[in-house]
């Protein structure tokens, strides 16, 4: 499977291609088996009704032509429902097949205690085993790199062919069985039991074989069940009540009325909606561990977002130099250039670029000794021959450094640093010996279009919180620029966990993104934990979703998918129930036409005959299911807006529309079939 096919599926207009059409059609028939149909009570009632009308027709209780027509339409109604589910499943099945190919027949080079190697089938690997993988080989099992680093092609799992870097001892040490090492040699400690690997679980998920109904689906199922039972009571009691005034009601007509009333539209599409929700997540390259996780995403109130990589591009660029009073601008520029010439970090390079850009021709002097950044000193720089020591670094580090050398800190520095920080930039202070020269401004660039996305989230009532290690001033500036609602500055990993707990104690549902092992507790605590595929095994285990593209901004997409899934269910339920009004007007007059002629006044659609009225209502009831399959798979159109607006729009489209549309459609069907079959 590659990216392009997955994008095809993700398109806004899901089309049925030939490959999935036939198997889905066959499956629709296979699903007529009792053990399957019973899982869907609404359709089970239709199926029983089909058998009943067939029996009644055989027994001569109805006109054969009419009886068989009704039986056929009912059967088709059930098949349409099955077909909807089969189509949804087939989309996952294609993906599963290609995943399965990746898993097949892997061999592993297992290391034993003495350091020797033995080639064994991957199925024999157990957690804790060490395996060696070299350039060009496939990784035999899920695990963590304990030695070395490698570039890996994960296309088999993610569909993304650009190689990724994985390295021992970092937050990007996790590897997935079935992916390919492109360069170097790594030793991997196996972490998954055979049959329970990431790939195995993914296959099971996309096939929907272990799909559990989500909580909202269960609740809605109960409501649909009780509506079905209610209409069963209505229909069963009707002949007794009607019998009092001499109305003889044919059993085929009663079944027709029952099937028209029970919520077959939503009943037929409900399983498909659930599967499609998972699939839509998958098309966005997000692997949700359960359907529930996707659904919960729709309920999220707070998003915790890491600044770096999510909100900003993460590579800070030098954007300005600020010389202190009494320091020549050129002098500062020269100093920073010298200090950064040998600096390999992106920041260092950007400083050189900015300094050179101002026409400074300068090469690295002979005998210069570059001092790299260390977490301990928190500064870097250069020691020049002749004892000149140039340093750049965080303000407090430089202040300490200068004071150690006996220098004096100008009062102006504080102001300059604060000015830079207020802009959301990072200030680096530059010193030459015991003198402070000035400040380098490093800016972190906020990703394009985020402000609008956050505004949309706000309209949906979702609050965004930015997590950053920056100082409060910088954090505040970036927060303002990106348009997040809140931020945590100078955050440590445990701050994330504390914030999640605090939000949850306030009754809010929290989603977060994480990749490192130290994110694992927070990912587990969050209601929706989206782990990056590039992250550690611990993080991936802790979260309830994995983003295969490792794009933290995906969290926003997940929220929308979750909401869309719930809206689709609610909208189609409303539509289904609203449809019943017109169906009553079609069938009730037909039901009593023979015995109670006055009832003709209720035939507001002026349907041609009782026969064509009943058939038209049934045909509408059946074909609305396949017509709505695309909607069920794609989800209803969702424009982020407040709950009240969403309700108003959906009530107008699916509520009012659900009442009006079938009046028009049933009338149209009646015109066509009465002309065709002269009913």
């Amino acid at each position: 499977m590659n990216q392009t096919t997955s994008k095809d599926h993700a398109g806004c207009h899901p089309r049925m291609d030939e490959r999935s059409f036939m198997p889905a059609l066959i499956n629709a028939f296979i699903k007529l088996a009792p053990q399957h149909i019973i899982k869907n009570p609404v359709m089970a009632v239709v199926w029983l009704g089909t058998l009943l009308t067939a029996a009644a027709t055989l027994a001569g209780r109805a006109q054969p032509g009419f009886g068989w027509a009704v039986t056929a339409i009912l059967l088709i109604t059930v098949l349409f429902g099955n077909f909807a589910e089969a189509v949804a499943e087939s989309r996952g099945r294609g993906q599963a097949a290609s995943l399965r190919r990746a898993r097949k027949d892997l061999m592993a080079r297992r290391l034993d205690k003495s350091g020797g190697e033995k080639t064994v089938p991957a199925a024999e690997l157990r957690p804790g085993d060490l395996v060696v993988i070299e350039e060009g080989q496939l990784i035999p099992a899920d695990g963590e790199i304990v030695e070395g680093l490698a570039t890996i092609n994960e296309a088999a799992v993610t569909g993304e062919s650009a190689p990724v870097l994985r390295e021992a001892g970092t937050d990007r040490s996790g590897v997935i069985g079935g992916t390919k090492v492109l360069s170097d040699r790594i030793v991997v400690r196996v972490t998954a039991e055979p049959g329970n690997s990431f790939l195995d679980r993914m296959i099971a998920l996309v096939e929907g074989s272990n799909r559990q109904k989500t909580p909202n689906e269960v609740a809605l199922g109960i409501l649909l069940g009780v509506m079905t039972l209610t209409f069963l009571i209505v229909v069963v009691t009707l002949p007794f009540i009607g019998g009092f005034v001499g109305a003889k009601i044919n059993v085929v007509l009663l079944v027709a009325l029952l099937v028209c009333l029970i919520p077959t539209t939503i009943g037929g599409l409900l399983p498909a909606i659930g599967i499609a929700g998972m699939n839509r997540a998958l098309q966005a390259n997000i692997l949700a561990k359960s359907g529930k996780a996707v659904e919960v995403a729709g309920d999220v109130d707070v998003l915790l977002l890491d600044k770096t990589g999510t909100i900003t591009y993460g590579d800070r660029q030098a954007t300005a130099f600020h010389a202190l009073a009494g320091v020549d601008a050129a002098q500062l520029r020269q100093a920073v250039l010298l200090a950064s010439l040998a600096d390999p970090t992106p920041e260092g390079k950007s400083i050189v670029k900015l300094a050179r850009g101002k026409d400074e021709k300068l090469d690295e002097p002979e005998g210069a000794h570059f001092v790299p950044f260390s977490a301990h000193s928190r500064m870097s720089g250069v020691d020049l021959p002749g004892g000149r020591i140039i340093r750049k670094g965080a303000m407090d580090a430089i202040v300490q450094h200068v004071q150690t050398l006996g220098g004096v800190i100008p009062a102006e520095l504080q102001v300059r640093v604060a000015n830079v920080a207020r802009k959301g930039a990072t200030p680096l202070v530059v010193s030459d010996g015991a003198h402070v020269l000035g400040v380098i401004e490093l800016s972190d660039v906020v990703k394009h279009g985020l402000k609008e996305r956050f505004a949309r989230l706000r309209a949906m009532g979702v609050k965004t919180v930015m997590i950053t290690g920056d100082n409060p001033l910088t954090a505040a500036n970036i927060a303002a620029e990106a348009g997040v609602d809140d931020y945590i500055a100078e955050a440590r990993p445990e701050d994330k966990l504390a914030r999640i707990r605090a939000e949850q104690a306030g009754g809010r549902l929290v989603a977060m993104v994480g990749d490192g092992t130290n994110d694992a507790p927070a990912l587990a605590q969050a209601d929706v934990g989206l782990a990056m595929n590039s992250g550690t095994q611990a993080a991936k285990e802790a979260g309830n979703m994995v983003d295969l593209d490792s794009d933290p901004a995906k969290l926003l997409a997940v929220v929308e998918i979750g909401k869309q899934q719930l809206i689709t269910r609610g909208a189609l339920t409303t539509f289904s129930l609203a449809n019943d009004v017109s169906k009553y007007f079609a069938i009730l007059p037909a039901l009593f036409a023979a015995t109670i002629p006055q009832m003709a006044a209720l035939n507001v659609m002026k349907l041609t005959s009782p026969t064509s009225a009943v058939l038209s209502a049934l045909i509408f009831n059946a074909i609305i299911i396949p017509l709505l399959i695309p909607l069920a798979l794609r989800g209803v159109r969702f424009k982020p807006s407040s709950a009240t607006q969403l309700l108003r729009n959906n009530m107008l489209v699916y509520g009012v529309g659900g009442v009006v549309l079938p009046f028009v459609a049933i009338k149209a069907i009646d015109v066509v079939i009465s002309a065709l079959f002269s009913l």
């Binding site: 909580p215 009707l238 006055q598």
Partner: protein, 569 residues
């Protein structure tokens, strides 16, 4: 039209201060009048052995409710079956048969007042006062207590703050003290208001005496009666309570259509107003009780729209529709009041689950019958005191569930999620109504010997269905002419009465208590705002369509077919 506007204006105008007062009573905090009322209440609490401040869990509360009903029920049943031997029986009413006594007892215990007997002839003064009137006073307050407890639970219970502080799960949700919730409003609201209405009605000529009635010669010689006994008694107190307490059971068999119960236009206005006064006040009470005025406004707005629509429809049908001039419909009508006040009363008495009448509903135009039956099937347009709001909460939960999904979140009411366990309980209530009403209607109609109807055809379907719908809604009015004093009718109606009362009062309380135990999410723009016109309209659509879908066939075979054949004639 004048009366229509006057009744609604007075109900809203008086309901507002009354609702505020009622909220203060139900909050149980120190208030004016304590000096007098506490002196009356304390001995009652001592007698019951309860501390009015001590809270109850929902189970304890529901248990106390059922216990109090059981004890009262047995006492009243015994009084009815032995009244001939007890004092205060100047008119010589005989003992009731066991089944009629059972039906009468259940009927009054459930605040229904469906009567399969004629009060003036078949009840002694003692049975009236001890059995009937005391139940008429206390049962509406029981309904009120249950809905107040449910509202408390919906907002986390009385101990919401304390439970939040100590991590929620351990302590049960405090929904209030049942005994205090019944006794306080009985003494502080119901009895004073009844006293006022009795005096006002007596001033209009409604009898209030313990003497037996006089025997007089009829003025009209054509009836060929030498003398007629005029039944009197303590009528006006009973009329007050039957109107104010959504009771409906009158002193006389023909209820407020009898001049002795409803002598003047002013008495008619007072009685019409009394139909909806306390139900409206209960809606206003929400604001003071929960501190959430916008919620009270939602309930008031939704109910008012449906109430005005239903009353308007009834008035149109009686006065202006194509059948309104049909002479056949004048049979059984009280001509003193005319079409509009009769239709207004008919609509309000079915909306509020009251059931008293000032015109025979059997004789209403078929479409007015459709309106009155629909009112009872919905049973939440004002509704019975407490029960109406309780039923409204059921619709609210259903509406929130559907609308919540459509806004893309797990449905939540006041920040608490409605999930499968709650939906299961709601499902029981949704199913119970069609199961009982349609099931029993079908059985009764298919065995003609059970029916006992006075009309053939479509109208008979209306009669039978009306009787059960009225019993299930705890309304109590009837399509008169039904021979309903039989064992079949007494027993099935007793069952329907209880099935329409107890689950409908207790299940919402249980759901609210389950919700109260859940984590409460703060409301944001992303959560469904129920206090908006959009949701109110959605809710009305849910209520109307749900009712319509379940009962359309029987309504078509009954009142609609009746109407169609009437205009076809």
């Amino acid at each position: 039209m004048t009366e229509f506007l006057l009744v609604f204006a007075l109900a809203i105008g008086l309901g507002w201060p009354l609702g505020r007062y009622l909220a203060a009573v139900m909050r149980g905090e120190p208030m004016r009048g304590d000096g007098l009322f506490l002196r009356l209440e304390r001995p009652l609490y001592a007698l019951l052995g309860t501390d009015p401040q001590r809270g109850m869990s929902w189970r304890g509360y529901a248990g106390a409710f059922l216990l109090s009903n059981g004890v009262l029920g047995v006492i009243v049943w015994l009084i009815l079956m032995t009244q001939a031997w007890l004092p205060l029986n100047p008119n010589g009413a005989p003992n009731m048969s066991w089944d009629l006594a059972l039906h009468t007892m259940v009927s009054f215990l459930t605040n229904t007042n469906q009567q399969h007997y004629a009060g003036q002839a078949q009840l002694s003064y003692l049975a009236h006062m001890m059995g009937i009137v005391s139940l008429q006073i206390i049962t509406p307050m029981m309904g009120l207590a249950l809905v107040v407890a449910t509202l408390r639970a919906l907002f986390g219970g009385r101990n919401a703050q304390a439970r939040k502080a100590d991590g929620q799960d351990q302590t049960p949700v405090d929904v209030g003290n049942y005994w205090a919730d019944v006794i306080r409003p009985t003494l502080r609201l119901m009895l004073p208001l009844c006293l006022l209405w009795s005096v006002l009605l007596t001033s209009q000529g409604v009898p209030a005496t313990l003497d037996g009635g006089p025997v007089l010669a009829p003025v009209d010689a054509t009836v060929q009666m030498k003398e007629q006994k005029i039944p009197l008694g303590p009528v006006s107190p009973m009329v007050s309570i039957k109107q104010l307490g959504t009771n409906g059971g009158g002193w006389y068999g023909a209820n407020s259509a009898v001049p002795l119960e409803n002598p003047t236009p002013l008495s008619n206005l007072l009685e019409t107003l009394a139909l909806i006064l306390i139900p409206v006040a209960v809606v206003f009470m929400i604001a003071g009780l929960t501190g959430r005025r916008r919620f009270a406004a939602l309930v008031l707005g939704t109910m008012l729209v449906m109430s005005v629509a239903s009353a308007g429809l009834a008035i149109w049908s009686e006065g202006f529709s194509s059948t309104s001039q049909d002479i056949a419909l004048m049979e059984g009508k009280e001509v003193r009041f005319g079409a509009a006040p009769s239709a207004l009363w008919a609509a309000l008495t079915t909306q509020t689950s009251n059931g008293s009448v000032n015109a025979m509903h059997d004789s209403l135009a078929p479409l007015t019958g459709l309106v009155t039956i629909s009112d009872m099937l919905i049973n939440a347009i004002w509704g019975g005191i407490g029960c109406g709001l309780q039923q409204f909460i059921v619709y609210l939960l259903l509406g929130v569930f559907l609308a919540g999904l459509m806004t893309g979140r797990t449905p939540e009411l006041f920040g608490r999620k409605i999930e499968a366990p709650e939906v299961k309980l709601l499902a029981v209530l949704v199913l119970l109504q069609p199961l009982i009403l349609l099931g029993l209607t079908a059985i009764t109609l298919s065995v003609p010997s059970l029916t006992g109807n006075s009309n053939p055809g479509f109208h008979a379907i209306s009669q039978v269905f009306y009787e059960y719908a009225s019993a299930f809604a705890n309304n109590g009015s009837g399509f008169e002419g039904l021979g309903d004093a039989t064992v079949w009718w007494n027993l099935t109606c007793s069952f329907v009465l209880a099935a329409g009362r107890y689950p409908a009062l207790i299940i919402p309380l249980a759901i609210a208590a389950m919700l109260a135990r859940k984590r409460q999410a703060p409301e944001s723009t992303g959560s469904l705002q129920i206090e908006t016109p959009t949701f109110a309209l959605t809710l009305i659509a849910v209520i109307v369509i749900l009712t319509l879908l379940q009962f359309m066939p029987v309504l078509v075979l009954g009142p609609v077919a009746d109407h169609l054949s009437l205009i076809a004639r």
